[in-house]
Symmetry: none
Subunit: 233 residues, 2 copies
DNA sequence: GAGCATCTTGACGCCGCCTTGATGTCCGCG
DNA sequence: CGCGGACATCAAGGCGGCGTCAAGATGCTC
């Protein structure tokens, strides 16, 4: 249950079509951007980076196929063409220009929604790249939720992991007690003591000498920091 | 440019349609497999693991929509439905079952070829994942729906299999209770207890010592994970 | 409609984690 | 030199998550 659905950019010069799409999509949780021209569309696209595009082909200041081609130069978001033109040549041109689908007007709302779901499936399938941080003997793989020290796997409790992951995402930078509390314990946590206790546990599991931390260092009066480069001396 | 083009599995019971597709595709460098029934299609699919599927909906021994759904359990290869049925309901069903596109007969050759190119673009964006997963004594063949432990076949109930298959598709990474519930029990399932009970059953059948799981490990407070590398110690 | 397999639902006990308080240590500053 | 504040450490306790068992509920095949 996401708070806000995918952002869709509708590009069509007919107000009637836009109204129809607005009714169909917003009621399903999609967020909408609307453009009436190529110029306006590109402006909104670069500004908001939508998740999905719905393009008409005939626009007052240019061709939808060219718009699709230019969008494809910088975004992989799904592009669905909605056009009254039903000629095969139009379809082939649009699809080869980078469009992912082509619906001929008039079309049913349910078919459009189904094809939008297909587009979302494709967008979601894009491979997630591993996010790993390595510093000294410590290795934190955020995509696999895996922590190792000198190759040995370390078992962490949920809060220990959240604490370490937070520091790892901002490796090298200081995080204040406030920031840590808000991120790990929620927005209305106040007990700074939590952080100390769990930091001690974390050091026991991660540091070679928990009494003299080399990775999870204290910044007195400010907060904590995870060193991103470790000198051996 | 590959030496040999993508392997396409055509599933249609009319010889005329198959001949038409054969002429259109082989001349463009595609390699072709042909099936006249669901049974034949699944046999060829598991045996050759095609790159693209072209499915008719009305088949002598079953429904193309069910075929698409079953293929989607183990392959992400593009599925394009070619059907004489033009009702919106048919399209929605097929697309939601896992089809990527839907063309109503009769259609133009050039449009089909353009949509095939779109499908290939998508396939290229997401690297294919292995169909069988092996980790320690466990082996899961997603295309055959077959699970073995140390060579011995294991009988799983439908939900047990869906649970294991889900974990196998994401082997090595943690799946949260939420994710598991959504994927196995549907989008509005909430009872986290389901997962525990069925996980226990699964462990009884798969783990050497169900009390000390080495493959299906729980990540406390988060979810479960199927180990993709198993150390012997 | 009987019988079977499977899924759901509830009860219960254990273990681990988080919280919380007490105490100890370091350091700067008056 | 004594004091206070920030930080570290330890231990106790409560609570919730997790595993397990088992009894209904459901749905299927024959």
């Amino acid at each position: 249950m996401t708070a806000t659905g995918p952002l869709v950019l509708v590009v069509d010069d007919e107000a009637q079509v836009r109204r129809f799409l607005r009714a169909a999509l917003t009621s399903r949780g999609y967020r909408l951007l609307e453009a009436e021209s190529v110029r306006e569309a590109e402006q909104l696209a670069t500004g908001h980076n939508p998740d999905i595009y719905l393009l008409d082909l005939t626009l007052p200041d240019g061709d939808g196929v060219d718009l699709a081609r230019r969008l494809r130069e910088w975004t992989k978001a799904p592009i669905i063409v909605l056009s009254a033109r039903g000629r095969e040549e139009d379809k082939v041109n649009a699809l080869d220009a980078g469009a992912d689908d082509y619906l001929t007007k008039p079309f049913g709302v349910n078919e459009l929604l189904a094809r939008l779901r297909v587009a979302q499936r494709h967008a979601q399938a894009s491979p997630e790249q591993p996010v790993v941080l390595e510093t000294g003997p410590l290795r934190v793989d955020l995509s696999r939720r895996e922590v190792t020290v000198e190759g040995r796997e370390v078992r962490l409790t949920p809060t220990e992991y959240r604490l370490l992951a937070l520091l790892a995402r901002h490796a090298g930078r200081v995080l204040t007690h406030r920031q840590i509390l808000r991120e790990v314990w929620g927005p209305n946590a106040t007990e700074a003591h939590y952080v100390r206790v769990h930091m001690a546990e974390l050091r026991k599991k991660v540091e070679a000498d928990p009494a003299r931390p080399r990775l999870l260092v204290t910044e007195p009066g400010v907060g904590y920091r995870l060193r991103d480069r470790v000198e051996s001396a």
